[in-house]
């Protein structure tokens, strides 16, 4: 124990060569949950220097958000409480202040922005008022000067027409704009430290890029430090000066960005890197972290990561690891790097080598053919609800999915990609076009015939938490489809089939008699997959199936989907905004913008040789883990316009750097670049 403390102190002395702005020492935040104590934050130490960006990286449930709320003293009371530790901001221990004094610190010296800009603003107050509140509270300004300051702030965060926006309500702004307002509120007090809790997680990549760049610019201008809480390695790579990785309530590794990305040391950090899907990993399965995060209500005897660690051996089970400090200032909480134990570590390299996949190359015929699909929603007005126009959610979309292949439909929120899925499933009636599945034209089928046909095409939704009936047992959820389609034989055979399906998706047969709330997000998504598989479909429409999940869990689901495709010959329509998932999983890509497909082709063609300016911008906006000197970031102006009034001509022209007169006159026809590759852009007309 003494040895541990000494190493800890030595290690701290080393990073303290410059007086830190924020010093967090042995912070513990616990929650009372029924009759046990959940140690959400259990002895966290870190420090942030003036003007730097410090990233706290970790998956959901590791305690990173609770850490940030503890700094603000906003832990939800009375369930949660800060048990011990100190949080010194410029030498003042925030945890010792009275609540009244702390109110003077919040928003003034330490400000915070949150993950959900949609719900974090007060819906019934104008955004001007909401920013002004902070200005008048901390800057002793009022009336005209306060309003002037608010307009300056709105301008500083890049909101166009500040005067007009001042009187608007949050619902009139897009998600990205709302996050800018949140940033303006945080900036109003000119804080020394900005705590940003997953500031871009709810935003599209192109908007994420804008917000991250804004934060960087503001940091340059004001010299504030940023504590960036995120689960996204890419965002860390783009933004952070230093990184700390959190696991199960503790920091397990800290390093500067370079060392962390070139050489992550903790087995957990390594796993995080390996589980990120990418083009280069297509040939093998993604690394997964087995098991799940341990319950934080227990007393740990050894390393918290031990049950899930590939390298673990005896000592990891019985002794808590001590901080090991490497030459370049990198610190790791792991026995592997402890000189006293390192020699005993077992050699496990072979065991954890990735599984190579066989690439199936059967080019079977088209399973799904979508031709000129249109889904228009009428806009009504007046006493008799006259139709005054249409929202063209899907406007002339054509797709082909061969048997056993994956087509990824990519686009930002609001582009109509989910509506395409619904149109194919006939869950919304297509306005025009035809959907042919395995020879049957779905949009012509009668209601009863369509019901029978639903066996062939199933769907997995984004949110595994709300897409299952909470009052049904797992067995009933899976059986329901079989009963409706009259497949799976008699009751006994169906039960056998359920066991088999659960095995197929990697769950124990005991899961049958349990209810959805008893499972984690990843397990629930597995159940949803089992439910879809129950009727032996040929095509599964996966609507953002992994976007609610952590990367390590996402890796498990992606592996599972790939395995199922190989063994059952399933075809997937994979609807997503996550391009790295697409690179890993898809065979073909279709990129959608405002109801139309602007570019489609094989993954290799589209990812390596994107032609449409929108595809290029989308690809360049994805934050990359691997530093790339050649990478040119294409910044898109503004945001995707509303589908109610799409721009005249090419829908993309107002945001396009290459727009010419012709782009404003008409929508470009599809142009064939190669057998598969098609693009709709005037640039390639000649």
């Amino acid at each position: 124990m003494i040895a541990t403390k000494q190493t800890q102190n030595k290690h701290k002395a080393k990073i303290d060569h410059q007086a830190p702005l924020l010093e967090v020492n042995n912070l513990k935040t616990w929650f009372d949950s029924r009759d046990q104590i959940v140690r959400a934050v259990d002895g966290v130490n870190f420090s942030i220097k003036k003007g730097e960006t410090f990233a706290l990286l970790g998956e959901s449930g590791c305690g990173k958000s609770m850490t940030s709320l503890s700094l603000m003293r906003l832990v939800p009371e009375p369930a949660g409480r800060i048990v011990s530790g100190s949080v010194k901001l410029n030498g003042v221990d925030l945890l010792q202040l009275t609540e009244l004094k702390m109110q003077k610190m919040r928003g003034n010296h330490i400000a915070m922005i949150f993950q959900e800009p949609m719900t974090s603003l007060n819906p019934v107050l104008t955004i001007g008022k909401q920013i002004e509140e902070t200005v008048t509270r901390h800057k002793k300004m009022g009336g005209y000067s306060a309003k002037k300051r608010v307009l300056e702030l709105l301008d500083a965060v890049g909101i166009p027409d500040p005067k007009q926006r001042y009187d608007e309500y949050p619902h009139q702004l897009s998600g990205g704009m709302k996050q800018r307002v949140m940033i303006a509120i945080a900036l109003a007090g000119e804080p020394a430290l900005l705590v940003a809790d997953e500031p871009t997680t709810a935003l599209d990549v192109t908007i994420q890029l804008q917000v991250l760049e804004l934060l960087r610019k503001l940091q340059n201008d004001t010299g504030m430090a940023i504590l960036l809480i995120t689960h996204d390695l890419g965002v860390v790579a783009e933004m952070a000066d230093r990184v700390a990785v959190m696991y199960a309530g503790q920091i397990v590794e800290h390093a500067d960005r370079q060392s962390f990305f070139s050489n992550p040391q903790h087995p957990y950090s390594k796993k995080l890197f390996d589980s990120v899907p990418a083009m280069a990993k297509r040939e093998h399965s993604l690394a997964v972290i087995r098991g799940s995060v341990p319950a934080l209500s227990q007393q740990f005897k050894g390393c918290r990561f031990e049950p899930r660690c590939d390298y673990a051996w005896d000592i990891c089970r019985c002794q808590v690891p001590a901080w090991q400090l490497l030459d370049d200032g990198q610190g790791v909480l792991c026995h592997l790097l402890d000189p006293r134990y390192a020699s005993q570590a077992p050699d496990v390299k072979k065991q954890i080598a990735p599984v190579i996949r066989k690439q199936s190359a059967n080019h079977a015929g088209a399973l799904l053919q979508v031709d000129g699909l249109k889904v228009h929603f009428p806009v009504t007005k007046g006493l008799f609800k006259r139709t005054v126009g249409f929202v063209k959610a899907v406007d002339d979309v054509s797709l082909v999915i061969p048997k056993g292949k994956t087509l990824a439909l990519v686009g930002e929120s609001g582009c109509g990609k989910t509506t395409v899925g619904k149109g194919i499933l006939q869950l919304v009636k297509p306005t025009a076009g035809c959907v042919v599945l395995d020879g049957a034209q779905l949009n012509r089928l009668k209601h009863r015939e369509m019901r029978a046909k639903r066996r062939d095409v199933q769907v997995i939704f984004q949110d595994p938490f709300s897409s299952m009936n909470p009052r049904m047992m797992i067995a009933d959820i899976i059986e329901e489809g079989m009963l409706a389609q009259r497949v799976g034989g008699d009751a006994r055979q169906r039960q056998q089939r359920i066991d088999q399906l659960l095995g197929q998706v990697g769950l124990a047969p005991e899961a049958k008699t349990r209810y959805p709330h008893e499972f984690s997000g990843g397990q629930r998504q597995r159940i949803c997959i089992a439910r879809a598989l129950a009727v032996e479909p040929k095509l599964i429409i996966c609507d953002e199936p992994t976007s609610a999940l952590d990367v390590s869990v996402q890796a498990q689901i992606l592996n599972l989907l790939k395995d199922l495709q190989d063994s059952l010959g399933l075809a997937y329509l994979f609807i997503t905004h996550n391009l790295s998932v697409v690179e890993y999983l898809a065979h073909e890509i279709a990129v959608m913008y405002l109801g139309r497909i602007v570019e489609q082709g094989t993954v290799e063609e589209v990812i390596h040789n994107p032609l449409h300016p929108y595809t290029k911008a989308l690809l360049s906006a994805v934050p990359t883990i691997v530093p790339d000197a050649d990478r040119q970031v294409i910044r898109l102006r503004g945001e995707m316009p509303s589908a109610t009034q799409p721009p005249i001509g090419c829908h993309f022209n107002p945001r396009c750097a290459n727009a010419r007169q012709i782009c404003r006159n008409g929508y470009p026809e599809a142009l064939k670049i190669s057998d598969n590759h098609r693009v709709r852009c005037f640039l390639y007309k000649e």
Partner: protein, 328 residues
């Protein structure tokens, strides 16, 4: 918005026809026109001829819904239901079975009802919101705990107990105000009204406070409140500027809808305190099987309720900028 209101008013017509039909059917399942006549004429020594004469005089001599041999109009219009219903839609309530003009009665009896209902409504609303805010301010402390327990106790006691208990304590033992009665003279009326008003307020305080507390606590746990605290605002500002305004949205749903119904008065309070309002009017009419009054009051109640719902929708647009009527 205007289009929306017009559409809602048009929707109200089938609802009112339906309400009227059901009232009519229910009433005549229990009573025949003959029974009504006997009730009015007295049970003893009544000749069939007298009954027929009464029925003819009051318009109950036709078939109820369908007339096989219409004397005027067609089989549907020449019926009791049609003749009696059409006039309702012009707000012509006609005469009660004892010959009094119902519209006249309503316009007289409305005022005593309002004299109780309006003070009860306003004072309870203010008191309940204040208590709920205090409890929400001290959430998860002993104040909160004791507050909720008190509310539950107050809710569990029957309103009849408050009435009888109040009359016994205040009027019989302490002789502070009269037990029951009413006077048109303002000074005397205050003496008669003060006890029913207080009892109306006390009777509703438990349920109201508890309900508003739930709404406040739900709002307090929302993300924007966390943002407000992160700005460094005091808890007072957080509650009054942020929480209260948002909590008004669900509170309005319950509150605005009942404002027009205040005209209808309180059935129980008025009966026990002998207030000649619309509540006791309805009770008396039911007791004496006076169909004309019952259906007039049911019809009036439905109209007021529909107005209340439309007002609720309109008030939403005033407190919640996200809601615009008639726009998708």
């Amino acid at each position: 918005m205007l289009a929306y209101i017009i559409r809602r008013v048009i929707y109200a017509i089938p609802i009112l026809i339906g309400v009227n039909l059901i009232t009519f059917a229910l009433f005549f399942v229990v009573n025949k026109p003959d029974d009504m006549a006997r009730m009015q004429l007295g049970f003893k020594h009544v000749q069939q001829a007298d009954i027929d004469k009464w029925k003819q005089a009051h318009g109950y001599d036709k078939p109820l819904f369908y007339n096989r041999a219409p004397t005027e109009g067609n089989a549907f219009t020449d019926t009791v239901f049609f003749v009696k219903s059409v006039r309702l839609f012009a707000f012509d309530f006609g005469n009660a079975d004892d010959g009094r003009n119902i519209t006249q009665d309503i316009s007289e009896r409305m005022w005593p009802s309002l004299a109780i209902a309006i003070p009860v409504f306003i004072v309870s609303l203010l008191l309940n919101i204040t208590f709920a805010l205090i409890i929400a301010f001290f959430r998860a402390s002993y104040v909160d705990y004791m507050g909720v327990v008190t509310c539950v106790i107050l809710m569990s006691i029957s309103s009849l107990f408050y009435i009888i208990g109040g009359q016994y304590l205040i009027s019989k033992l302490l002789h502070l105000v009269p037990i029951s009665g009413y006077s048109a003279d303002l000074d005397t009326a205050t003496k008669f009204l003060i006890l029913p008003v207080i009892i109306g307020i006390v009777g509703g305080i438990g349920a109201g406070t508890r309900w508003y507390r739930t709404i406040f606590l739900e709002e307090i746990s929302k993300d924007y409140v966390r943002t407000a605290r992160a700005k460094g605002l005091s808890e007072r500002l957080v509650l009054f500027r942020h929480v209260l305004k948002n909590a008004l949205v669900p509170i309005l749903t319950g509150v605005v809808a009942v404002i027009p119904l205040l005209f209808m008065g309180s059935l129980i309070l008025e009966s026990f305190f002998g207030i000649p309002g619309l509540g006791s009017y309805t009770i008396d009419a039911i007791r004496s099987q006076d169909f004309a009054i019952v259906r007039a009051m049911v019809f009036l109640g439905s109209v007021l309720y529909i107005i209340g719902l439309i007002l609720t929708d309109i008030s939403y647009t005033m407190v919640d900028p996200r809601i615009r009527l008639g726009v998708r």
